[in-house]
Symmetry: C2
Subunit: 543 residues, 2 copies
């Protein structure tokens, strides 16, 4: 028999116990913190009349659309496989493509407009990297079937409520609203967009968009250089510019400087009016800095600010039809929001929002967290974007041929969780259970009785279920469980009808402290009658 064992085939390799590359597992508090955050968001979305939708994780590649089954393995970017009946299937890569499919498939049953929210994992077949995973959560809300900008305004208001509901305080965030049509109008006025031939100047527009998007980093001079011949950076590398004339550059720079211009105009106006009018003008002007806390702005100054920005935009888009339409939509959004009391201390008309515009057809919005954190090099920077969205068409058209207008927002779940962690606002119960230790293996029923009483009283509690022989291991276990209290009852205690409560939190503090003096009056261990177990635990927990 011994021989048999030693000659057992060595070739049977054990499987590796590894999360697949680019995937992760979430434990305990990580799960509860995310769940608590998403629950709060769902509560706000529900109040706004949005209904939850949970589609299958798997879609036909055909319905996903972006990835067509014209190659042998059409899984670029998605995780895909061929089903037995020859259909190509894939894991969803976002929550918008499934919404499009659902809106088309159930179009006769769903209310129209259809307000829905969705929360769940999506999958990307990309090279994993630090902080980049192949499965992650998305949290979307969309209104399908409404052409009214009231739908866009509503989503901005809802996003504002959701951020405050999860614990981002007013003043620590701002939602910036722009409109793709305004930017198109500016492009038209600058001569880089021809409404009768939309493909013309596409390359120039690409350079222009990228340049405008870099204003924070390059400053006005740098952006102007990129609009013209080009720009040499600090390292000496040269980036070719859009090659626009000075006149063209001026139109575009006027757009880049909208906020500055509005500010100057307000200050100028404040000099020629009575003080009671001038004061709110100056407040509106000086407070247009979204990187500082803005919670004290009033709805009055915010109206002034939004109106001024819109009037500057009217000038810049000039006679462009699409541009004027865009400004009018922004004006509508501003007044719809003001009617509900959402001023620029929460939601701000801000033409500087450029990112992601390619995808959108009308209003776009982005939530930025304005409080500062330290980056990996220890420098202060504002936390930045945690959510974004806008209006898009052709969502359902792919399936039905009928255009259906839609607008929606996506919250970056991991980003927002990181923000809550940075602010110390992460929810999720991290309290470990009370651990009832096992001093006498034969008296397990007694220990189970204790734990049963504690649980019935709503107290999280466990009995130690490992091998009880080594008591040290039991205390190590309690430590690993972040247990606040260990309950001990050996034979002597049982005879006396008492239990010992060990305050593990206080005990840890005492162990850390240099002077035991200060703790001497606070016993980390108390003996109480067995009948007082629940009451004594409650007291020690500070309940």
């Amino acid at each position: 028999m011994a021989n048999d064992k030693t000659t057992a085939p060595k070739s049977v390799r054990r499987p590796r116990a590894e999360t697949p590359k680019g995937f992760r597992d979430y434990f305990g508090a990580e799960v509860t913190a995310r769940k608590a955050m998403l629950d709060k968001i769902a509560e706000v979305y529900h109040r706004y009349g949005f209904d939850p939708l949970e589609t299958s994780a798997v879609e036909t590649v055909e319905a996903l659309g972006k990835f067509l089954p014209d190659v042998d393995r059409p899984n670029e970017g998605v995780f895909g496989w061929q089903d037995e009946d020859a259909d190509w299937l894939a894991l969803r890569y976002d929550l918008t493509a499934p919404l499009a499919r659902v809106a088309a498939q159930y179009r006769n049953d769903l209310p129209s407009p259809y307000r829905r929210f969705a929360m769940g994992p999506v999958w990307r077949n990309e090279k994993p990297g630090p902080g980049r995973f192949r499965q992650f959560y998305q949290c979307d809300a969309d209104t399908v079937g409404s052409a009214s900008v009231a739908a866009d305004a509503e989503i901005c208001a809802m996003l504002s409520d959701a951020l405050e509901a999860v614990g981002i305080e007013r003043g620590d965030y701002v939602i910036k609203v722009n409109n793709r049509k305004v930017l198109n109008g500016v492009m038209e006025m600058a001569g880089v967009l021809d409404p009768s031939d939309p493909e013309r100047f596409a390359a120039e527009r690409g350079v222009v968009l990228r340049a405008i998007d870099k204003i924070d980093r390059l400053g006005e001079e740098g952006v102007r250089a990129l609009l013209g011949e080009g720009r040499k950076d600090e390292s000496g590398d040269f980036t070719k510019g859009a090659g626009l004339s000075v006149a063209q550059q001026s139109v575009l720079m006027g757009f880049v400087q909208v906020n500055e211009t509005a500010k100057k105009q307000l200050i100028r106006m404040s000099k020629s009016v009575p003080e009671e009018v001038a004061s709110p003008l100056r407040v509106a002007a000086y407070d247009n800095n979204t990187h500082i806390s803005a919670f004290w702005r009033s709805i009055e100054t915010s109206k002034i600010w939004n109106r001024q920005v819109l009037s500057v935009l009217v000038d810049i888009v000039g006679h462009s039809k699409i541009g004027a339409e865009g400004v009018a939509e922004l004006a509508d959004i501003a007044s719809l929001l003001e009617a509900q009391g959402y001023g620029p201390e929460r939601i701000l008309i801000d033409p500087s929002v450029v990112r992601g515009l390619g995808y959108y057809t009308g209003p776009v919005y982005e939530a930025e967290l304005t409080f500062e954190i330290l980056d990996e090099k220890g420098r202060k920077r504002s936390f930045g974007s945690v959510a974004g969205g806008g209006r898009y068409d052709d969502l359902v058209k792919r399936f039905t041929g009928q255009a259906v207008p839609a607008t929606g927002v996506s919250i970056g779940v991991d980003r927002l969780l990181a923000a809550l962690a940075a602010k110390g606002r992460l929810a999720g119960d991290t309290a470990g259970p009370v651990v009832v230790t096992v001093m006498d293996r034969d008296r397990m029923a007694d220990y189970m009785g204790m734990v049963g009483e504690l649980r019935s009283a709503g107290i999280r509690a466990e009995v130690y279920l490992g091998n009880p022989k080594n008591f040290g291991n039991q205390l190590k276990y309690a430590d690993k469980r972040q247990s606040p209290i260990a309950i001990i009852q050996g034979g002597n205690e049982a005879e006396k009808g008492v239990v010992i409560l060990k305050d593990l939190i206080l005990g840890a503090k005492i162990a850390q402290s240099a002077t035991l003096e200060e703790w001497k009056d606070q016993p980390a261990q108390v003996e109480v009658p067995r009948g007082d177990l629940v009451a004594a635990v409650r007291k020690m927990l500070g309940e």
Copy 2:
């Protein structure tokens, strides 16, 4: 241009808007009802010290184990595909295989024993059928690393609490506990299990297990026939039996009749003792019918019942070592549960639990709902099993070579939801939003203001965001949204400073009623000052 349009290629086929075969989408109340149920279960599990675990949906095929990458497409039963770096990946098919991987991968970091629960979708690459889906929810709780039957007892108690927490009343369910070892002991005594050669008689044991499992349908005579030569059914078809001798059959039938025997013994005993002792004996005897409501059993009669069943089992397993071990474990479980007050009105020692035994190595348990529902043919039957589990070994051994004992339960999420629906206990907010209609497109800001006020007061509310031209469409929309109230304010009302509240629930009742007489004093429509909007809505909602 017109020509261009008519000659556009017709071959561009639109994608089908279809959920892939065997998958489904969940809308609104379906999502919230399941979430509400799982939240309540999670609360109980948390109180018991179990921590949530959320593993990635994707595992390496190697880690999943059951399906090895030795063929070109190893996706029998799972959805699998080959990753770029040649690893085969697959969607998890249950929550136990990922737990095994995690327990091995993080064995140095996790507390031991490790109590964890997991809730989430799993995927099966099976032929879809009516009610059989390729993606469905599982809800598992397991304790890894404890060899103590206290861990099994704890999971049974937790399951009992969880069922009551979601709304299954005491008396409407029973959790039956058996032990794989007891059955092995009986097999040994019947001469169909040879401890020194476990493979011997495997075929006979298969026939025996299937026969015992059919006791409800075939009765004792039918089971006995299958243990012997075989059985001809009503249609004339013959099923070959295990071919056991009459003596062997008797041992096995003794096991099948354990409950009956215990009952008879209790009644006999009750005849020779004083009335105060006899009474609980008779109660325990006559109430061992898990198909009737049993909530009035006392812990005293339940102790008597469990003890009697165990004493019958002791006789049957005789000198079988493994059998005696099994009975002793059941006795331990019974007293651990009694110490926490869980008698057989909730958790019952019941040797009739056979299903799934092949997988398990020790205690097994199953939650059965005992209330009656009508089946598809209109016949009454008890609802049946909604959860099951037991002790299993070799979970982590595959990865590490080290045996780790584990025990756990899985709740059938869809089954339990169906049970709650049958009992009218389905949670989930199905209340539609108050709908503010749009009478005047230019006054959208006013309507948004109303909806903003309602939401701030915590009332679910929407403004109609579709094309407002056809007012009938707005009321149809409100109907589809199951809206309780429509708010109306046209130009006249705006001038008068009032709003109209239309009670849609009452309106629907009036529309259904044959006589309008009874409703004449209950106006389905009221006019209130604009300033009283929130208060009036609250009143109409009955809040």
